[in-house]
Amino acid sequence: MYAQMIKTASTGVKSDEDMSDLERQFQARIDAGEKIEPKDWMPEDYRATLIRQMGQHAHSEIVGTLPEGNWVTRAPTLERKAILLAKVQDEAGHGLYLYCAAETLGVTRDEITEMLLDGRMKYSSIFNYPSLNWADIGAIGWLVDGAAIMNQVPLQRTSYGPYSRAMVRICKEESFHQRQGYDAIRACAEGTDAQKKMAQDALNRFWYPSLMMFGPPDSDSVHSAQSMAWKIKINTNDELRQKFVDQTVPQAEYLGLTVPDENLKWNDETGQYDFSQPDWGEFFDVVKGNGPCNVDRLADRNKAWDDGAWVRDGMMAHARKKAAAKIAAE
């Protein structure tokens, strides 16, 4: 999942007494593990929070194709190019499922697209970092999709039915993405000195931004409690970050690559790795729009949307003509 810093549209978790009857029944259904479906009653805050979260996730899929598109035309073999194209195709497909799932909450795809384009909605901070060498494509699959999977697997159990079902489909494809990424960076790590340098350089640049994908530390994450009560969010940011580090460090060791963290070490007592936090000041800068690629990414999306206006208009005009002709013929 690529949703960070989702501001829950509520002032905090309501106590049982503060809830209306409808809210109490709604919470009881969630507590019982039932799925909420589009036509069911739901609190407006639940709806608004989900639109933000699913929208941000969908936008991340779409913007995420840009750093990969940066290398599609320079992929080093036909097979790597084909794999990357398949991955990009999946991601556009994920964006489509998620926009469709968000539409069941009463917001159109065009409306939330406009919110991305004018900066009202965000996408994951990770896509504001550049893809500079070929091994970055491996690192994106291995680390970025790996971090996304950490979040998405529990979200298959999320309370909103359409989101949960979209996540089941997406998770299947994401694990292929992670494997292909790991395989691409492995080929570099096992390759010539220049290729090894690419792999290490990619890990150096993507390590901390990947840790940021889980969002700020729990101590600073003020919006989580209500989302967790609603089962829109399943695990805390720190839980997932720790799980990611524990899973990823042995993979880096296997590749012979060095995780850029002097404080990284296995802790026998906790049975987990101790590790350094990313620079949260940098994270908030990126979220505010000051990352290395924020301006270019949004400009690319805006240009694609504006340049494509005549195509969308032309297709709609033709569809209307066809529909009118069909009615006339009947």
């Binding site: 990969e68 080093p76 036909l78 190019k81 489509l96 220049a194």
Partner: protein
């Protein structure tokens, strides 16, 4: 020219068409006009790259000098490429991209259908695998050309402009040379000159529906399929496509 050399050239032509057009299509990654088109364009590019692996893989075997599909794709210079000029033209706006796709798909579908009956079993097997993809490409590009030709005033005029720009590159598909003659006599591939009427009828039907006018001038730009003279665009395409392999030739990717 020996039969083996002719077969090699024929296979390069097939594989270079799909390689170069697949590359062009992949340039749309992330910036298509609508999400469904992002998916469709990535899918089309993926099909072409898959077909390239078969055609160039077989070409390398026929040549017998130890070159595999990747070696042929990433280590030849422009003068050794045998794709139609149409395939290397820039993507332009979406109208130019989809019009080129349609003009190519129409030819590709007719040509591949003949290759199903090729006397060379490897050729017919590759054609068999490609034919379903090619049929789908044609269905989609024809539908899109019709929708945009018969859409708004602006989409109509952009599609007509794209057709006028690309039409001089259609004629090359139907030119025949020694390679084609050798393929015809061995029963491996059809005579390109014999396919024009079928092509014209198909294209005319779709363009009529799209309310577009087929240019009257049949002058043909040529030099791609025999490598005599490519456009200036091909060299730039190779600069990005081959860069990593050329800078790090010892790499195993």
């Amino acid at each position: 020219m020996t039969q083996q050399e002719a077969l090699f050239q024929f296979l390069l032509r097939m594989g270079d068409n799909t390689l170069i057009l697949g590359h062009r299509t992949s340039e749309w990654c992330g910036v298509a006009p609508v999400l469904e088109e992002d998916i469709a364009l990535a899918n089309t590019a993926l099909d072409f790259i898959g077909q390239t692996q078969f055609w160039l893989g077989y070409a390398g075997e026929v040549e017998g000098k130890g070159q595999d599909a990747d070696r042929l794709a990433f280590h030849r210079d422009a003068w050794d490429f045998r794709n139609l000029l149409l395939c290397e033209m820039p993507i332009g706006d979406f109208g130019q991209t989809i019009m080129r796709q349609f003009l190519f798909d129409a030819w590709h579908s007719i040509y591949i259908a003949r290759l199903l009956k090729s006397s060379d079993p490897r050729v017919s097997e590759i054609a068999e695998k490609a034919s379903k993809e090619v049929a789908y490409h044609l269905e989609r590009s024809a539908e899109t050309v019709v929708a945009l030709g018969d859409g708004t005033e602006e989409s109509h005029s952009r599609m007509q402009k794209a057709l006028d720009y690309l039409y001089p590159y259609v004629g090359e598909m139907f030119l025949a040379d020694d390679v084609d003659a050798a393929m015809v006599s061995a029963g491996i591939a059809p005579d390109p000159t014999a396919l024009r009427d079928e092509y014209d009828a198909l294209v005319q039907k779709v363009l009529d529906e799209a309310t577009l006018t087929v240019p009257g001038n049949r002058f043909a730009q040529k030099g791609g399929k025999n490598g005599a003279m490519h456009t200036e665009h091909l060299g730039h395409l190779l600069c990005s496509m081959q860069w990593l392999q050329r800078v790090y030739p010892d790499g195993n990717w």
